[in-house]
Symmetry: C2
Subunit: 451 residues, 2 copies
């Protein structure tokens, strides 16, 4: 596949962007994050876009727009300039904020998620403007600095500015390709509901010799509660949990079964001894189109070296439920809470803390601007037929922000590869995908204009 | 009950003993612990006993003995001069190593466990020697500095010195009284088997959105394994676990049912919402005479604030099984391991680490020197009838050391009260129990001599 290499100036620009340690969750990097926002805004302003840095209670949001042309469609391209923390640092082969290029791949924190991908769109627009003087659409860039901490200030910003953010469609490059050179349109995402529970028995830690056997052990009771969440075969055992799930359509199962993503690849990518999950579904069906009840953390009692014979006062666990189209996060919170209260014995007390949530997303990839997106992908990737997929992760702003507040669908045109290591040490982005992103931007705007 | 107050000199001696921060687990207190051993040895030597400080790979063992008189019985009194760590320091009302006396109670780390109790024996012997010139028995003090870390060097010491430690019986004051003024003879202890298990799924932490639902979650699988350990009613569900358990005797159930230790006291002491345990047994029967499968700690995944949607690579848990007479720790380890391997699904791998263990202990309180001990308690506590109990905790050296190596039984004549807070902040010891311990020493040696 003859994907091109980006020009040296674009590579230098990418490296400059990657050098900002714009870690949004870390207060120590607040100034770095602000400096990164300034850098993005300066770049956009230099291209002739009307650019604004909007302060928020957290990190700033940068917007930039072309002058409005009546009669042209309006496209909003969303991305983020903040990155995940880089730790554990000792697992990086090179310093995470000193980008390193080897074999056509740039390694740095944020290379794929999301600096490489959003910059490809910025430079794609810059190139079109330089060569043609204008774009075939009205364009709005919306680039925030809090995506990695759940976009706490973005919904309020969208509500406040929705009149100036009116658009026909949103485009995001922050998802994945199913393999190198395989253009990929993501038309569905899972939603999420987070819950933390704490089980308390005695009101203080006890000596397990003196009292063990006569009062309930909170770790045991928490474990028994967790064990009630699933049937032995992997199905979730919460009453009503699957009631609203929209079944997979036949065309999806057919198309997905032809993708080069079999369960042996899943084993290779995860290092698990076996696959496991809801019976009757393949690995990608389970992760893309079926809901989960996942444990993210558990803690209780003594956790140091050796043994300490304590009967702990309490134990707690963090859950996240991934939801699929049809399911409602608030209803799931209710069902889960009912289930836990029903199964918790009276020998311990149960505290439930409801965490953040986000609705699932799905759009028909054959309707609306889906065909334009597929054509743009085809042209970018040398005529290759785009894979139509969903993804298991969640981008709540797509439903809760762009669909609910702005009233539009989102095209998810990801450029990450399965081994791009987003959120992990040695995050990387192939320069050919960076170049592809610039080309994709031009084709996408042209196809949307012509649709 | 007219228990006497100790003389001022004895109280001063106790306070001096309590000022040593002889924390055996903390390398920073190695010199303090050695200084405490020196202090104990100097005291014993000053009483005219043949005293030796024996270095070990850890903290020293102090022995002291009267000159041998043929024809007299030999009693070995065991105790320890090391203490538990004092943290959490902020929960102490006074500094843990600056002993504080209020309302006839001394508060300090080690006040009850074991400095107050072993010193009462030392000062009791000193008083008898001062008043009478000699003792009615041959006496050996064996006072170690590693009891709180599992006495790692004591068994080897007993094996090496068993010829010079030949005795007729061991006496220990390191257990509890069931209530103020109620003399108590403990004739049974539970044993212990410790195990840690680790369940591993993927070979690295995964994004729960990307992979959740298609591979097993180690926290879920660990919880399901833990849930298999008990039947819902509280009985342990491990095949063969109860096979060797010696049933409670009728006289024990009868005697215990008349003790002032009902389940409402258990709720008050533990702060648990309800009692819970093996059906058909009272709270004290469950803790004194029935085995347990207790969780001491669990850990896995993200444990910080808020949520992190990780599907963790592994989760682990620490168990301790309290064992009762008839049960063998090695056999229990085998049964537990078989159970866990049988119930662990092939979607994760299971690692089992066998920890330390100790055999249970029981002796007939009506045979051997049991009657002498009861008579000594009666005389000490103004004629009150001693309670005959077992305890739920473990003192492995009683079985693995004194019974197996020296071939003798142990009299457990504890002076701790239920609210003495051993191992907890604000550990304390009533001065009346300190005085009682001195009197008990004299009566005990006399009764053993006469038995």
């Amino acid at each position: 596949m003859p994907l091109s290499h980006p020009d040296p100036a674009s590579i230098e620009t990418l490296l400059a962007f990657l050098r900002f340690p714009s870690i949004s969750t870390d207060p120590a990097h607040k100034a770095d994050t602000a400096a990164c926002a300034d850098w993005v805004a300066a770049r956009l302003r230099g291209m002739g876009l009307v650019t604004t840095i909007h302060p928020t209670p957290g990190h700033p949001i940068v917007t930039a727009r072309t002058l409005y042309h009546p009669g042209r469609r309006t496209v909003l391209i969303y991305g983020h300039y903040d990155v995940q923390p880089a730790d554990p640092l000792e697992l990086w082969h090179h310093a995470p904020f000193e980008p390193h290029i080897e074999n056509g791949i740039v390694t740095a924190r944020g290379a794929t998620d999301n600096k490489g991908q959003i910059l490809a769109h910025i430079l794609g627009v810059e190139k079109t403007l330089r060569e043609k003087g204008n774009l075939p659409v009205n364009l709005i860039f919306l680039i925030e600095g809090e995506e990695e901490i759940g976009s706490p200030n973005l919904p309020a910003f969208l509500r406040e500015h929705h009149e100036s953010l009116v658009c026909d469609v949103v485009a995001i490059s922050d998802t994945g390709m199913i393999g190198r050179g395989i253009p990929t349109l993501t038309y569905g995402l899972r939603g999420i509901s987070c819950i933390e529970i704490t089980v308390t028995g005695p009101d203080k830690d006890l000596h397990s010799g003196i009292y063990g056997g006569a009062v309930a052990n909170p770790i045991t009771e928490l474990s028994r509660l967790i064990a009630t969440l699933h049937h032995p075969d992997g199905r979730i055992a919460i009453d009503g949990f699957y009631d609203d799930v929209k079944p997979l359509e036949d065309w999806e199962r057919g198309a997905w079964s032809r993708l080069p993503m079999k369960d042996d690849l899943l084993l290779e990518l995860t290092g698990s001894p076996r696959t496991f999950g809801e019976p009757g579904y393949s690995g990608i069906e389970r992760t893309w189109a079926r809901p989960t009840a996942e444990l993210n953390g558990i803690t209780g009692g003594y956790q140091g070296d050796g043994s300490k014979t304590v009967l702990p006062s309490r134990a707690s666990a963090k859950f996240s439920f991934r939801l699929v189209p049809g399911q409602n996060p608030e209803k799931i919170h209710r069902l889960v809470e009912d289930h836990l209260r029903k199964h918790c014995p009276p020998t311990v007390t149960l505290k439930i803390d409801i965490g953040h949530s986000g609705a699932p997303y799905a759009v028909d990839p054959h309707a609306g601007f889906g065909k334009a997106a597929q054509e743009a992908l085809r042209k970018t990737f040398d005529g290759a037929e785009p894979a139509l997929i969903r993804e298991g992760g969640s981008i709540p702003i797509v439903t809760d922000g762009f669909r609910e507040i702005l009233g539009v669908d989102t095209l998810l045109l990801g450029l990450a590869l399965p081994d791009s290591r987003c959120h992990s040490p040695n995050e990387n982005f192939p320069l050919e995908n960076f170049a592809a992103g610039m080309a994709l931007n031009r084709h996408l705007l042209e196809e949307i204009a012509a649709a």
